[in-house]
Amino acid sequence: MLLRIAERTAVLLVSLGVSSALVFGFMVLLPGDPARVALGVNATEADVSRLRLEFGLERPLVEQYLSWVGGLVHLDPGISYVSRAQIGPQIADRLQVSLILVAASMTIAVALALPFGTLMAVHHRKASGLVLSALSQVGVAVPAFLAGILLITVFAVQLRWLPASGWTPPAYDPGMFLQQLLLPALSLGLVQGAVLTRYVRSAVLDVLREDFLRTARAKGLTPMRALVRHGLRNAAVPVVTVLGLQLATLLVGAVVIERVFVIPGLGSLLLDAVGNRDLIVVQDVVMVLVVAVLIVNFVVDLLYLAIDPRLRTVAR
């Protein structure tokens, strides 16, 4: 057991190292000089070399990389090439907003997917199952930002129940915060919920086929009780995998939704940085997102160990 955890931790650390190198390499090695990009096409050679000198861009790449990673480890991602502002505090603020949005969406997605996915699997031959299944197919096909636009049209424009956009910190005005959170969280959550529902359905269907479920029924459990007592835990392994992947998708999907609802999250920061050609900010935000995804993967790996005893030990 301890060995398995150590293994996963090692994988996480190596992944962090490699992906930071990837992000760095990607931004630096691609043709295009960050300084020149930051200053735009009209900049003079002198301006460019001054900026390069200021931010140490003329140093060897390895040295640049190490100082960047060193900064990250100390939670100091550096200074913007364009605004000259400290990036760290900005990311911290924005990350908070994005995490709230993602957590709310995930909650909605899971709350939808677990009951409906299971129901769809159990009633897969009945009309109710087919209707739910068709609905989820449509849900999967709608891009989250489109769902956002539609929700705005209906609830903000037509019905005027909820604000169309904006963000208020929860501490400032909890009521307003919730009102503004609802639509973006729903647009992400509904779509991800539809995707997750399909995975729950197929995981439960697979489990329904298992021999041990037949054993459970032979013991005298009704099909539903057999599923609840013996099936769901076993169906959880594939579902947890997808949940992990979905959290990653959500983090990135939030980028788009933040644009739709004008929310000052990490995504807005990233897109603004792209617009301002502020490459160091792009690099930092991308890295933060990648780290988040890797940590989620790590947690998923640990969850496997908790769910499936077969992974903890080797067969005798």
């Binding site: 021999d211 041990f212 054993t215 013991k219 009704t222 005893p309 067969a315 005798r316």
Partner: protein, 359 residues
């Protein structure tokens, strides 16, 4: 991967069942199947299956792949896949709560009625011990569960204690520790013992075993077979034992039904059927499985052709496309000849046995 050694078979007979057989009326039919037919779409999988198992009786059901023997077992358990349509009648009589006889019409009963019957009046052991147990649950808890479901023990604690006791009786070494193991930590033979313990936990009136030793090594098979026989004997339960192995069925059962193509083609006491088979298929099967017997021209006796896919057996006598004695007469379903569903055969050109057997 070496399997952990199988340990001594404990005398299951030494353990008194919770209710003694004397409490119940004398030999009654625990399972009574009449005119059972099962179809999927328009393909017949089982036709006119008649079968009776009484208390204390060990009945074998033999046949090759596609013969319908597993389907028959699942029909008795009420576990047929939902898109299979069974007709006919299947009646199971067990002890029910409080020792009062309970009769279940399996094909008509609802899910709750069936659930009350399964694991209590009739229990089942499946072929694959590797997949029959829940991989995420300790085996002791899985054995205890079958008793808490049917409330045959006072409480959870009693169920857990009795589970350990049962695991000990089926010969798991250090039962208390074994109860805490997950299935993947046990060998195939040990897992099958757990399944047997689970099946016997509520002293069912009927135990159905579907190829319970096919996936096991031969030395383990011998012990598990013994375990099953002792288990049903101690409880005076009926046993329906399904296998493709004639020698196994002869070691375990008193009575046997031979199935082919979804029909029962011959039935009778084991000794009679195996020494004086009447149906041409039974005769062929016995010849082909006896590796000590050679044809005069050399080589083993064979049956020509191969077993058709399920639902694709010929109309009339299901064996006629492989039978050397088939005539136009066989295009009609041959009538059942014999004293009843327990003894007889359905063959238009049966084997004639002269004095002293042989043919």
């Amino acid at each position: 991967m070496t399997a952990a050694p199988e340990h001594t078979a404990y005398p299951v007979g030494g353990m008194p069942p919770t209710r003694t057989p004397a409490d119940t009326p004398p030999p009654a039919d625990v399972a009574r199947v009449r005119d059972l037919a099962v179809t999927v779409g328009h393909k017949p999988l089982l036709i006119d299956v008649d079968l009776t198992v009484r208390r204390g009786e060990r009945v074998g059901l033999i046949g090759e792949s596609g013969s319908g023997k597993s389907l028959t077992a699942l029909a008795i358990m009420g576990l047929l896949p939902e898109d299979l349509a069974p007709t006919g009648s299947v009646v199971v009589t067990g002890q029910g709560p409080g020792g009062i006889a309970r009769t279940t019409s399996v094909l008509e009963a609802g899910e709750h009625g069936l659930a009350a019957m399964r694991g209590r009046d009739v229990a089942m052991v499946f072929q694959e011990p590797m997949t029959a147990l829940n991989p995420t649950m300790r085996v002791g808890a899985q054995v205890a569960e079958v008793m808490t479901i049917h409330r045959t023990v006072a409480d959870r604690g009693a169920a857990a204690r009795r589970a350990v006791e049962l695991l000990d009786k089926v010969g798991l070494p250090d039962a208390a520790e074994a109860a805490r193991a997950y299935p993947h930590q046990l060998s195939g033979g040990q897992r099958q013992r757990v399944v047997v313990a689970m099946a016997l936990a509520n002293d069912p009136a009927l135990l159905i075993c579907d190829e319970p030793t096919t996936a096991l090594d031969v030395t383990v098979q011998a012990l598990v077979l013994d375990l099953i026989v002792r288990g049903v004997e101690a409880r005076d339960a009926g046993l329906l034992f399904i296998t493709h192995d004639l020698a196994v069925v002869a070691s375990v059962c008193e009575r046997v039904l031979v199935m082919y193509g979804g029909r029962v083609v011959e039935a009778g006491p084991v000794l009679d059927v195996f020494t004086r088979p009447r149906h041409r298929y039974t005769r062929g099967l016995i010849g082909a499985s006896d590796l000590d017997l050679s044809r005069p021209e050399g080589g083993l006796y064979t049956i020509q052709g191969s077993v058709p896919a399920a639902g694709r057996f010929p109309a009339g006598c299901v064996f006629r496309n492989r039978c050397t004695h088939a005539t136009v007469e066989c295009e009609a379903v041959p009538p059942w000849v014999g004293s009843g569903p327990e003894e007889g055969f359905a063959c238009a050109h049966p084997v004639v046995h002269h004095e002293g057997g042989g043919s």
